[in-house]
Symmetry: C2
Subunit: 664 residues, 2 copies
């Protein structure tokens, strides 16, 4: 592609370089190594390839760019400023790393400012980019290339690539032939500990070739060379890995190429020396007008594409236009809940008691039928989670598929789901055994931090799984998920609550949800489905009969049925007891104090959950009893295990009797 102005590209790159230096120097910290070393890579991408419009940062058909090496955040802020994003004025760059600044230590998801993903924890960003490429391919199939035809790029460091999640994604992206995905490797041969050779001697280009990527190797300080490689990337059906050999901290005399360049403190003397060495006689936070103008021109480079796209959209038939608008605004189709509600009603009528995973799978199938943008998947647990069912597979050859086979790559799944949600237009969900959720946990945190509506489903939620043993029996997972802020954790009791919770989770658009199901049969505890009772997080599922309640049993999941059996046993002894189902603590916590008090009651409380106690004291108080797990599970038949660990209706009833005796 021809140069877009007569400003030399190296000066455009230097504009990034000095803004990054000035910002790091001003605050006295930050990571200059990446912005300085990758300035030419970024210049080639942003001025010659990336399709975007700073005046409309949310343009649906824009290319997506993720700075996976998030510690180099000033690279991104400088790029966005220079390209003309209104949300990133020079004043913002001057406040780098100050509380309240848009220029945070690591990039925080804010697409209106051009920040497509929160990055920093290494490997996540490149997985996000792969998720975005999946979303693009999926939507291009649904909407046509006239409306969806864009690429996903990531700048990645050695650290990103060492992470297992990146290796999982590399393998899967090659398999899926995500031809619109390009990773630009900032191959600076340096890590925090020093020369890369301290911990790595792998032939990364060969590793990517083995995974069916196009691999290109260039001088990362040669804008024209990176430009040429990016052009080749655009014309290959495989994802492209562009190895860009660079010098870390390039431009800092005496520091560039050394370990100190990674995150060493910049002094004024050093930045002055850099200015002299690179003939950049401009004061801090000042870009000479010719360079600034060249960047502004580059920032408007995609305007013809943008306007042509808008014209195509304007010319769309009404229905297609509405569909597109719905997707880009993230609105769900009208009546999407109908199927779920019908399922709940029918389940209530029939008394549908069946395996939790089966219920979950049926619901996903119903939801997917109503929501064409829903893209489900699992890491090699199609049968055991029943989530594929009649959905066809999303593959290299069939982009219309609605189910992604991730292979045994939980972490890739989680982080790619985040990328799909950040891309927009897709309702991403993924399911695995609850016990494997630890493998994808870093993704939950970032989804919660970004406020992305990702649906993380889990089956096999307790010792109820039986003979596979303690490695496969979650005990600490409910607590550890409940600890994550801005994450809804649902554990429905039966098929009715299952449909209710899925509806709540899908409707929740400002953060992720975890939906947790049993392997074993989930007996019915609700025979009414007129109202979504899960909406309040917890509710009295069975009032005390024969008098005022003398105790309250709190439970979730299949243990609600067990609580109800205990209640019956106690009722026959003349002890009226209420049972509260608590499918979602986080929602219950948001209810009024009055409602919570009414549900929890004044009587002594006993909680039952086949998991650890941590967190339950919030609801049962210091004198309450807890029936659950105090250690890991065991291998054995399901019934044997419930008995062995004392999680039975009898044990709950005994705990209630003790409570009543103590207080009575």
């Amino acid at each position: 592609m021809a140069l877009i102005s007569n400003v030399e590209p190296h000066r455009m790159a230097d504009a990034i370089r000095f803004l990054a230096m000035d910002a790091c120097e001003r605050v006295g910290e930050g990571h200059p190594g990446t912005p300085l070393g990758a300035a030419e890579i970024a210049t080639a991408l942003f001025t010659r390839h990336l399709k975007f419009n700073p005046a409309d940062p949310l343009w649906f058909d824009r290319d997506r760019f993720v700075l996976s090496a998030g510690h180099g955040s000033m690279l991104l802020y400088a790029l966005l400023h220079l390209s003309g994003y209104a949300g990133m004025p020079m004043e913002a760059l001057r406040t780098f790393r100050e509380l309240g600044s848009p220029c945070e230590g690591h990039p925080e998801y804010h697409p209106e400012r051009g920040i497509e993903a929160t990055t920093g924890p290494l490997g996540q960003g490149i997985a996000n980019a792969a998720g975005m490429a999946v979303a693009e391919a999926f939507l291009a199939e649904q909407l046509g290339a006239d409306l969806v035809d864009h690429r996903s790029y990531a700048i990645v460091g050695d650290g990103c690539l060492q992470e297992g999640v990146a290796q999982e994604v590399a393998s899967l992206a090659g398999h899926l032939r995500l031809g619109k995905l390009t990773w630009l490797w900032d191959d600076n041969q340096m890590t925090d500990d020093g020369a890369i050779g301290i911990a790595q001697s792998e032939d990364l280009p060969a590793r990517f070739r083995a995974a069916n990527w196009q691999v290109l190797e260039v001088d990362g300080h040669d804008v024209a060379a990176v430009d040429a490689a990016l052009s080749l990337a655009r014309h290959d059906a495989r994802p492209s890995f562009i190895a860009c050999r660079t010098v870390i901290g390039r431009g800092l005399p005496g520091v560039e190429g050394t370990r100190a360049a990674h995150s060493g403190k910049l002094t004024r003397a050093l930045t002055d020396a850099a200015r002299q060495a690179r003939d950049w006689p401009h004061p801090p936070f000042t870009v000479p007008e010719d360079v600034a103008a060249a960047w502004r021109v580059a920032g408007r480079r995609s305007l013809p594409d943008y306007e042509a796209w808008q014209a195509r959209v304007a010319g769309l038939p009404g229905e297609t236009r509405q569909h597109l608008d719905r997707l880009r605004e993230g609105r769900l189709p009208d009546g999407w809940q109908d199927g779920l509600r019908a399922f709940a009603r029918q389940a209530a009528e029939q008394g549908l008691a069946q395996h939790g995973w089966k219920t979950c799978g049926e619901i996903v199938e119903i939801a997917a039928a109503a929501i064409p943008e829903m893209l489900a998947g699992a890491p090699d647990l199609e049968a055991a989670t029943q989530h594929k069912r009649r959905l066809s597979a999303f593959t290299a050859g069939h982009r219309g598929g609605r189910y992604l086979h991730y292979g045994v790559r939980e972490h890739a799944m989680g982080s790619m789901l985040n990328g799909m949600a950040a891309h927009g237009g897709v309702v991403p969900s993924g399911v695995t055994y609850l016990v494997f959720s630890d493998y994808e946990r870093p993704a939950f945190r970032l989804a919660a931090m970004m406020g992305l509506p990702v649906l993380f489903a889990f089956t096999h939620d307790s010792i109820g799984i039986g003979r596979n043993g303690p490695t496969h029996q979650p005990v600490e997972y409910l607590a550890s998920l409940r600890a994550i802020p801005n994450l809804l954790v649902f554990r429905p009791a039966d098929a009715v609550e299952a449909a209710e919770c899925w509806e709540l989770a899908i409707a929740h658009r400002t953060g992720p949800s975890c939906l947790v199901f049993a392997r074993q049969s989930q007996p019915m505890v609700r025979r009414m489905a007129e109202e979504n009772l899960s909406t309040r997080g917890a509710y009295v599922v069975a009032e005390a009969e024969g008098g005022e309640r003398v105790a309250t049993i709190l439970a979730t999941g299949t243990e609600v049925a067990l609580a109800l059996r205990a209640r019956e046993m106690l009722a026959s002894e003349g002890l009226p007891v209420s049972v509260v189902s608590m499918p979602c603590w986080e929602i219950f916590e948001q209810q009024t104090r009055a409602y919570r008090a009414q549900v929890l009651g004044q009587a002594p409380r006993v909680a039952v959950e086949a998991a650890v106690r941590l967190g339950w004291d919030r609801w049962i108080g210091p004198e309450g009893s807890f029936v659950g797990m105090s250690g890991f599970g065991a291998s054995g038949g399901e019934d044997d295990l419930w008995q062995h660990f004392g999680i039975t209706a009898e044990a709950v009833a005994a705990a209630v009797r003790q409570q009543v005796g103590r207080h009575g």
Copy 2:
């Protein structure tokens, strides 16, 4: 190597095959695919290469074998039974998957029975094996090849290799040239979802060559071919990856080679057909005497090596012998605590207030000086965690190094530490930022389940890290770690508690510990170090002055100092308040009820911890106050953040005043 008997190897493999079939058929579940498909691989390994002595399963210089594809557990049980392990009689095989059986659904760590690691969560076992190979190389350097010269093997499936942790370990093991590590890939082209091609098209041999492994490709049903490859593996300085092409469920007519072989239910008709097809006319759980005898002979194959080793040990000079005995019994050297205690005393005298990570690093250095078998390391955070200091690096060329550069591979580190601990003779520790602990979390769970004494250290434990922002600020981690059973979570307040907690953690030999430190300065709260007060998990660090306590403030980490400042402010107002430091909840929970009551007191309570509330209700009760985080952090200066999130002495004092007002 010559055949050890005139029994054909395929019949020896069939003994495994039918025992696995019979056990799965009897219980009506299990995963026959791996034991049937890998029977020849395992036969080649166990009868011709593996160095072990079933009569002395804990022989220190035995080869280690890990069945990473743990779902194929019957392969291991059959091998151990046939090889003559007393802990694995035929009766045990008949109880496969019954509660209390030694033949659990997945192998559970039990070295006395020959089970070297708990496996099942995929990828973990092969990482464990790599950790074992590191331990071997490390100890061989310390003790000499006369005493330590053994190999580590793992049988791995496609699922294992798809996991990111395996990819991290592959890269690192090649880099470290762990020549005594061999992975036998059961390349059966089939996963739970069906043909491997559904989710994978990577050229795995090329991938391993890129990572500097020796790669060998053989017919996995040809015992002689596998044998030959294993011989080549023993004569290469690189780790070896033996790709064994197999047929899943081999031996089940109509099922072998299909998806159903993975974990499909076996019927008697099917096992009868298999018996007929393979000319195995023996009843279930019966091995013909010639085959059983051949296996017994093979199980005694290493006796000459064993006896020669014992003779060498018997001839050792006293001091070397004592050193060896100490290591193999897992005893720490006499007086190992002295340096830590001296550090604590000196810190108390000097009022040593310094960065938490610096304290942690200094303590590790002191501990490492006293414990020669301690092997530290970090994933590319040498400088930021200060854990290397004067330790030299363990590398391909220097096995005497005491510090391992893991690269940015947290998960590999965690799982390899488990392998080192399971190997024995090594005190493994690894450190990273607390926020990256999620990446290695699956390893914590398995360390806790196995009861391995692994030291997981963390720095940068809260918003106190400042400007790196919310991605780097843990808020939910303390709760999520406290949720894991059999794991001690230490968060010391100052340098004295730091030394105390490290001493407790190192002394704790029946499970792992997490040790959590601040990035920011940790002010001194203890000026006395005569007694290890952390031994009780929590204690009154400052009694109320000027009267009976009207409130109790509970805190951990740097927030103890903040609580003490609040206490002073309140004292000046005439409110006597006690402060309790709680460096380890789990230990405090184990104290007598009387002690706990005495520490917690009867007065209203306020807790302060720069983390989420989950779990604190246990200690503060339903009326207690909590000062901490309710969401994610932010990027900004440290002081700004404490103010912004209201975690200050003033806020704690205000909470106490409110409590006292409510109750007073």
